[in-house]
Symmetry: D2
Subunit: 373 residues, 4 copies
Amino acid sequence: MDQNRNRNDRPRAREVGVLVGVGTPGPHNAITDVRGVRVGHATLIRGDGPLRVGHGPVRTGVTAILPPRNNWYDEPVEAAHFVFNGAGTTAGLSLIDEFGRIETPIGLTNSLSVGTVYEGIVRYMVERIFAPRGSVPWFNPVVGETSDAYLNDMGGLHVRPEHAVQAIDAATDGPVAEGVVGGGTGMSAFGFKGGIGTASRVLEIAGERATVGVLVQSNFGGRLTICGVPMDELQTPPPPPPTSGSSIMMIVATDLPLSNRLLFRVCKRATFGLARTGSSGGHGSGDYVIGFSTTYRTSDAMPAIRETLARQEGVIDEAFRAVAEATEEAILNSLFKAERIVGRDGHTREALPIDRVLEILDRRGVRRTSPTP
Amino acid sequence: MDQNRNRNDRPRAREVGVLVGVGTPGPHNAITDVRGVRVGHATLIRGDGPLRVGHGPVRTGVTAILPPRNNWYDEPVEAAHFVFNGAGTTAGLSLIDEFGRIETPIGLTNSLSVGTVYEGIVRYMVERIFAPRGSVPWFNPVVGETSDAYLNDMGGLHVRPEHAVQAIDAATDGPVAEGVVGGGTGMSAFGFKGGIGTASRVLEIAGERATVGVLVQSNFGGRLTICGVPMDELQTPPPPPPTSGSSIMMIVATDLPLSNRLLFRVCKRATFGLARTGSSGGHGSGDYVIGFSTTYRTSDAMPAIRETLARQEGVIDEAFRAVAEATEEAILNSLFKAERIVGRDGHTREALPIDRVLEILDRRGVRRTSPTP
Amino acid sequence: MDQNRNRNDRPRAREVGVLVGVGTPGPHNAITDVRGVRVGHATLIRGDGPLRVGHGPVRTGVTAILPPRNNWYDEPVEAAHFVFNGAGTTAGLSLIDEFGRIETPIGLTNSLSVGTVYEGIVRYMVERIFAPRGSVPWFNPVVGETSDAYLNDMGGLHVRPEHAVQAIDAATDGPVAEGVVGGGTGMSAFGFKGGIGTASRVLEIAGERATVGVLVQSNFGGRLTICGVPMDELQTPPPPPPTSGSSIMMIVATDLPLSNRLLFRVCKRATFGLARTGSSGGHGSGDYVIGFSTTYRTSDAMPAIRETLARQEGVIDEAFRAVAEATEEAILNSLFKAERIVGRDGHTREALPIDRVLEILDRRGVRRTSPTP
Amino acid sequence: MDQNRNRNDRPRAREVGVLVGVGTPGPHNAITDVRGVRVGHATLIRGDGPLRVGHGPVRTGVTAILPPRNNWYDEPVEAAHFVFNGAGTTAGLSLIDEFGRIETPIGLTNSLSVGTVYEGIVRYMVERIFAPRGSVPWFNPVVGETSDAYLNDMGGLHVRPEHAVQAIDAATDGPVAEGVVGGGTGMSAFGFKGGIGTASRVLEIAGERATVGVLVQSNFGGRLTICGVPMDELQTPPPPPPTSGSSIMMIVATDLPLSNRLLFRVCKRATFGLARTGSSGGHGSGDYVIGFSTTYRTSDAMPAIRETLARQEGVIDEAFRAVAEATEEAILNSLFKAERIVGRDGHTREALPIDRVLEILDRRGVRRTSPTP
């Protein structure tokens, strides 16, 4: 399987006319619409049958989101984060607060493999950037996680440091593989198979165009709601309440020249998109938003936006709306694209039944566009 | 006008069958369903015509939410708060963090009158509690606000300390006046008249019943969404983007025995209800949640819930769902109950056209119950 | 009494050779060394004898710190704050976080008069800035406090809005009155009379000179330590443990072009100066730091520093050292300059016995310079 | 070398009469004075000469602090943390905030090995606790770090997961090895060799005795100050300003029954001890405090303290004083006990010259007790 171009023929939400909000997506409707941002996956699927800790079955992986350029330490991006619910083990957050920067790729994986992916990112940075110079400083890998223990032998630590390196090496711009891929391989949402999803919005401020892109690793619960319509009949009998393994990582990228303070504000609004999908914000759901700006530190891009933001910060409302919409749509995409999977002990997650979703939306009079290719 | 029992015949959302979520409200569907909590209003409506700063027209007031009992300083409630967007001037938050307590009534008013209501609460506490003892300590009034500058001569500071005292003295349990009353008198939401609204949910944990109640002072903007259905046609032409005067105060009360840490978690989930009404989380919208527990510090109520929370904190999910639903419904009630008002310079806010709302919901197949009395 | 130039002949710490740290003060060794910053006081001293709530005796006041220029709303300063211990009622903090700005003068007063000074700042802003335009927006007064209940009829609310206006109108650059003046009139520290104190440090980065200035309103307890030497014998018998009325407000101004994020970091280091005076960081001591940059938003001052900070943020260490030293020295000045005062019920705070302090320092071999004029 | 009982004959501070503050240490003057707390080290010292990334020289290790009992997941300790300066990569903080708990041993190591120690803790927990049950949930390892890049081949990742397991397995109560040991092996402070240090204070509230213990991994800079006396002559020529590799981890344990909120308050006061050692709070110094209570969740110990804290929270002042003193003394012990070490590229850190320290203190008249055994 080409892990970075999953070619399953399940449609994305927008491809079957399911529109979130009123904004316009970028060309790929993906986080990679933010120029310079790349995404790569390493997917591990191996074995079947009963769980034997350390032996499998394996349904897991790593997704890497790369800020622009290749020397993230010397050319970091401005960054911020918001923890809606800290029921998780995401690493690397305090430096984001203190220095307002991200200086490595961001890794997403399963909860117990955070340390391993951390080591993988360290190895990548040491080998490619620092060892050739003969001097290795400390730096701050950022690694997010959700738990795939329902499908995967999570305690077996099948993700190794080299899988993080593979995901980084595999990263490309353009379309992003979604669903059962990378860190999303073993994840579930609303009782269905979830995983990786992405979306974007373009906006205009002061005559300059900018993009907000979101990538999620969805693994949470609640009352699935699509375009405002609860999908109760798809969740009958009701799925079990979210267990402590449910969570969502939301990665926000933008080429808007936003400082740490403004990025923090943008990150908070991602939770509005989360709320609108019906998330219950469950106790055990680690709900994290990490955002970065590709231009704030390293270019003079968008001078009119910079000047406008300094004078009249309220124009940030465009970004607030964009991030909420893109997050909601990214979550839908993670469900629309994810295929049925059988994991350890025969645990099964069905794919979201798109036909029934559309039937419900039609019945409820939700405006849909003609399917797009 | 009896300010605490506004008898306008506009229905509350639930009275015309508009149901938010799946939970069950308490007897009054109000924050006062939490035993011991009282609400009082002082409403100031005076004058018409052009704004003359200091002279009117006046469309403003104070709403007071009283924790149980009468000596809040010696018998404080456990408390927490969450600032979703700190574009406001709410006073008294840092003590809530540090000591985990609220030790006075909570006042809601217009943005520039925070200081005056602060003084009013001080006067009330000094006269009723401390002066008789001959000793006055420092204490921490909590005062929230939203801006009524569109309708009211806010710069005229027509709210005086005695109005805060009046609102406290007027406080009662039972039904709560909503809409154009107290601190909500001059407020707007989604381009319509907004103001005070309230709702509640009862829940059961470990065989014990508890209540979560929410009271809002709504004054914000976005894409009005009721039960998941955008009311775009009611907002045509689209209302102006939220100005810096938009905001919402959300006060959460519960008799669940929740510590400061757990209350903070509950407060965060109120923003999910806010998101679902279509709030844009606008730049200039001060969106604050303040929550308190009436039992944590001062009784042994609900021993089974205490014990269960200590062992298995995830049961808090019941409260998370409840607060999101009650917040969403409280916001709807603030719109449903608010009547048309004309303020300074002829500025007008129309009442939400409930008939059209219901027509849209019916057309869109939203489940409605038979109207309740 | 000219409240803004208290001419008592008690020396400041440095004038008798007591040097804090290794840095160099600005010309006035005051917060006003930061160009454009002004300070004004309104001091209320009236009556003697037993406390009669509402009648006195009165030992209180207001101190106003004015950011540069006169229209703080349209030309705000970049700002941040750090709450070391939130046992207080300081108003206006959440907007500092959210917008990174201060848009009014900062008032300091007693704990129960925060609301009144808030109203005073509102009146000042409305009358001088907004009413002439015919339009009054919401804005965010910043008011800090400590409790003078030991000496003052704090519950009597003798500070009125006009005293805040007076303090603002009285504000000047140049030397700052210290000790028993303005908001510091009724305050105590380490069992001695405390109150207002100030100090500054100049520093150089990338060839450009900048200034960090601190003004404190000291009212806290602990083991008084001067230049590392505990003054145990002056605190014999030991003063009572800090009561809930003890606190300190620390206002930091700088012309360094620092963003909200960097100012927050600078504010945190003020607590290192506080620690070194022997503060116990007591439970009931509201210890707040509020900082602002006079240049970040409104000028292109210090281009070399801006550029250096962006490239190599570690040069901020100069500001970290400066703020710790200036805070420690400002606290000492608040003690050195404060005269003995008798307040309500004959409550007395003695002045720090400077001769004995110097004798102890000499005995302990602390380096002192020759007294400076 | 028995890594857990380093028998070097350098004295601890108190053993040569250097007393910090006025409180009384516990029997071992160590974090292990808190009943049930254990500490273990794995020390890696290997090779000499020039740095060859991946080959050494190696001067690093792991220190493990174990909360009481052996199943930390099912019997977690109540916890909190305070980040004074987030210039580091400590993992596991957000769950401490959200759930108020620590559910694994705490590991301390070098900055780039956080991921590896994280994996080591996961392996330990999976093998000893979860695999035997056949079910592995997600959980949250807590791993702190400082940078030993000056002495150690940090980029070579010589710490392996099994070293974390070794440190956990080696953990004992009783005296704690200090200085060049475990995570402190390659660390420096104030230009001298630093590393692991510990101290404790006993206190009494409401007739019940309790203990506050602190363990630090010191690696920071500033103006070394001992008992208030700057050691300028020992730092001549002045050591280079703290580089981005300087940091300090402060672990606080107590048997006081403190909630997350109170532990957070206690953690903040640890920075007062840090300040008094002369720390500059440098830009690149990751200064973290992590605290836990051994009794809050799992016993009814100290009923009188529980009751007193609920009624009169101010008694927490005893713990505030204790943690500041113990932190200051733990830092001194990390210097007093650390021996000279030569690391990669011949980089050398001298031991603190204790004789000269004592000579300076004597000359400056600092009270010293007779040496204790």
